[in-house]
């Protein structure tokens, strides 16, 4: 493994402390340094880490830790609790509009997993919620993006709405929603092209699609392997569009996935799903507390 777990990391510090009768503030400081390292190695954004450590330190120099018989374990416990709280304690579900269809927009950087997740989400809504979603191919830029979504539709035996790549995404969305109403689809899942958060032209295209489609849910699809830049991405997409949640993909890998914490911390929106593989059934509801342990390597 590329990164040792926090528990393991703390062991060294713990051993030093064990010989002493009491744990001092200085010892806590040393431990906090280890926690900081563990979080940074897990790709949690360094600014998020700074704030986090400040908060944990406050609790850790309190009586609950210093007077405990197992101060090392206590620190780990405090860290874990704070981390889970920061991850957003409760599990969060996908929105349902008062008046169908519920419109969901999938947005994010190139290659994050939007198209694949669109297929997975359609499958999830049908299987787990007995819904009848319409997938919409609104990526007119990436080579064969439409074909990719159509292929997923065929695999799932579910409809995909497309108008080719010569029509604007706004126009596609307008027609798709009309079609969904006509055919009594209760969800409309709009797959958009990957784009950089600093690409003014393409970001303003998303504004236009949002304006027209009035989505109930704008999901930022983000790769779990993302590093420090996750905050910039999440912040930009959120400021621009007001995302309602995130999907963390490729969690079937061996990444610690600290990006989850960064996204959550800067947007305040919940992570709703986790992508756990390439196949259309590999989507799971996101569990904040499991993620907290994963980030710490426990």
């Amino acid at each position: 493994m590329a990164f040792e777990g926090l528990a393991e990391r703390l062991q060294g510090t713990l051993n030093k402390i064990r010989g002493k009768g009491k744990v001092s503030e200085a010892d806590v400081k040393v431990m906090m340094r280890e926690v900081r390292l563990a979080l940074l190695e897990a790709d949690v954004n360094f600014k998020v880490v700074k704030d986090f450590i400040a908060r944990v330190k406050e609790r850790a120099v309190g009586q609950e830790v210093l007077e405990s018989l197992t101060p090392g374990q206590q620190v780990v416990k405090v860290v874990n609790e704070e981390l889970t709280a920061l991850m957003g304690g409760e599990q969060s579900k996908i929105a349902t509009a008062q008046k169908p269809p519920t419109v969901v927009m999938m947005v994010g950087l190139q290659g994050a997993g939007k198209t694949t997740t669109t297929g997975k989400l359609a499958n999830h809504l049908r299987k787990k919620h007995n819904r009848n979603p319409l997938m919409v191919a609104a990526d007119i830029y990436r080579p064969a993006a439409i074909k990719q979504l159509e292929t997923l539709g065929k695999q799932l035996n579910m409809p995909v709405f497309s108008m080719g790549d010569q029509v604007s995404p706004v126009e596609i969305a307008r027609n798709a929603i009309a079609k969904a109403k006509e055919d009594h689809h209760d969800y409309v899942l709009i797959d958009t092209a990957g784009r950089l958060h600093i690409d003014e032209e393409l970001m303003s295209e998303l504004d236009d699609v949002k304006e027209l489609a009035k989505p109930d849910e704008i999901l930022l699809v983000i790769d779990a392997m993302t590093g420090q830049d996750a905050v910039n991405v999440a912040e930009s997409f959120n400021e621009r569009l007001g995302i309602t949640g995130a999907v963390l993909t490729k969690l079937d890998g061996d990444t610690r996935g600290g990006a989850a914490l960064s996204v959550r911390a800067v947007t305040g929106t919940p992570i709703k799903f986790a992508g756990m593989g390439e196949k259309t059934d590999a989507l799971e509801p996101f569990h904040p507390e499991r993620m907290a342990s994963r980030i710490l390597g426990m």
Partner: protein, 293 residues
């Protein structure tokens, strides 16, 4: 002008810059220690005097020989390049760009559609083949990628191609069966042309954090990676983990991806890359200086 002191605060800021570029905390701390020593040894106290030392050190770390970002091209035979990497990093797009580059150099290029798994992967490579004006060897979706590779080598040979670029499906490095499949793909190529593939390029997404190290380790183990293509550097991510990868595994970066267009591929230049690492800071400093004037 900003007469900044080289003090604790200076190094803390440098640490933040490097960490936010995904260099990785261990490498950063090692670097900072070395720089502190260097500053002491050379009696440097002004920030502007240590800046070139930092740049030089990082560039040296990334590029040890002038020509190491050159591809290993065969003189009188076909060059085979295998592209590997995790999902969605930019393998297929990089192949499209590279096909275009070789075509412009007047070479005959063939592409092998070795991703038979992902929805629309073959069609995506075909679009790139059309754009670049090169042939694509493919089989049906779902067929054995090793069989596609065998076909592609034969076909490229008989066409008298100069370069064969082999696409593979994205795979996470912890999937043992998929890594075995990749080894088999490589083996098939080597069986047909003994010293091929002449390059195994690991495509890394600059947005990726510390997991890129694990990617480099595992892909190297199974396919003996010869170079890195660092994509998506047109965003705000810096891909600083390549420093740690170079440091630990000694794999050089050969190309960088700077966009989704056909021309958005450049041979790697260490000094330019290092400049990019500090671009935001330099920019901020310049703006601050301009404001004072």
């Amino acid at each position: 002008k900003d007469y900044r002191k080289v003090d604790e605060e200076f190094f803390e800021e440098l640490e933040d810059i490097l960490i936010s570029a995904d260099v990785g905390v261990n490498t950063v701390m090692q670097l900072i220690d070395e720089l502190k020593d260097e500053a002491r040894r050379r009696n440097i106290s002004q920030a502007e005097d240590i800046q070139p030392v930092i740049s030089e050190k990082l560039a040296e770390m990334l590029q040890k020989e002038e020509d190491e970002s050159e591809l290993n091209m065969q003189k009188n035979a076909m060059t085979v390049i295998l592209f590997v990497g995790v999902n969605g990093v930019g393998k297929t797009t990089t192949i499209g760009k590279m096909a275009h580059k070789f075509r412009e150099e007047g070479k005959k290029v063939v592409l092998a559609a070795g991703d038979t798994f992902r929805a629309g992967a073959i069609e995506q490579l075909e679009v790139w083949g059309e754009r670049a004006g090169v042939d694509v060897v493919k089989q049906q979706a779902g067929s054995d990628p090793a069989a596609v590779m065998y076909d592609a080598v034969q076909s490229a040979k008989s066409k008298g191609a100069d370069v064969l670029l082999c696409d593979t499906a994205g795979r996470l490095q912890n999937k043992v069966n998929l890594m075995n499949e990749l080894e088999k793909v490589k083996r098939v190529i080597s069986r047909e042309i003994p010293d091929a593939p002449h390059e195994v390029l690991l495509v890394l997404d600059a947005t990726t954090g510390q997991n890129a190290m694990s990617q480099a380790k595992t892909f190297s183990k199974s396919t003996d990676v010869s170079g890195i293509v660092l994509t998506k550097l047109d965003g705000t991510a810096k891909g600083g983990i390549v420093l740690a990868i170079r440091n630990e595994l000694d794999i050089p970066v050969k190309f960088v991806g700077l966009g989704e267009g056909m021309d958005d591929l450049q041979q790697f230049q260490a000094d330019q890359y290092v400049h990019g690492l500090f671009a935001d800071v330099l920019h901020e400093a310049e703006e601050a200086a301009a404001e004072r004037e």
